[in-house]
Symmetry: C2
Subunit: 141 residues, 2 copies
């Protein structure tokens, strides 16, 4: 897994330290390794995973992408480009814009839901009666 830029080798980290630095759960880090998002790191004599700067950067990348709502598959594609060391800005941009379009669709869907919920709940007087226009609206044939 080649790094993008500015690779500085430094002291190694145990999984707990990496977890604290990146704010990624320990179990999640191991999970990423299992599914191939993170490489198998070298092990210490005791069998503990020892992480270097490379891993810290990669995990940070994954974390940021997740926060931006990319799925693991989308991130895999992004990392694939980077790993191949043969990506063009154009390809990355395309993936990013596709993702943005998906988000915009989701926003519109949710806004439509919100409108419907507002309409439905506006019908409700909020009284203590058992005849509820919300339930009626949902239950009717």
């Amino acid at each position: 897994m080649p790094l993008h830029k500015n690779v500085i080798s430094s002291t190694s980290l145990a999984i707990g330290a990496l977890s604290k630095k990146t704010k990624v759960n320990i179990e999640t880090i191991r999970y990423y390794e299992r599914i191939g998002m993170m490489p198998h790191p070298p092990r210490s004599r005791a069998g503990h995973r020892t992480y270097a700067q490379v891993h810290l950067k990669r995990l940070t990348f994954i974390k940021r992408c997740r926060e931006l709502g990319f799925t693991l598959n989308e991130i895999r594609a992004l990392l694939g480009l980077v790993d191949g060391n043969d990506y063009s800005c154009q390809e990355v941009r395309t993936l990013t814009l596709q993702h943005k379009a998906a988000i915009q669709t989701k926003i519109k869907d949710l806004q439509r839901l919100e409108t419907t919920l507002t309409q439905i709940s506006d019908k409700c007087t909020g009284g203590n009666i058992p005849e509820c226009p919300i339930i009626d609206a949902l239950y009717a044939e």
Copy 2:
């Protein structure tokens, strides 16, 4: 499972017919039964599920709620009120408004994501060069 209003007993439906009427997948209907969202219907001599108007209404209710983004647990709460035959309009309204608030939060989150993605991808010239500001932004420490 008491009905809300206008219960008209009529001909019974096989699972395929119910599925077609409600546009809910057959496997999903059986799944709802397994997890207790739908009651166990009576069986025909051949062991086939036979559904009545009650089931059609209940499933329609579930479907509508799902389309409105309610989780199965939220729907369970709603159905619990209806099943208890002792709900007040107020309770239903509260659940609905809570759900609406959650949707509004989600919309805001997604809008923030969209803004960030726009900012990031605006930095990109879209050229064919391997130095990509998007990747840089995500990869940097």
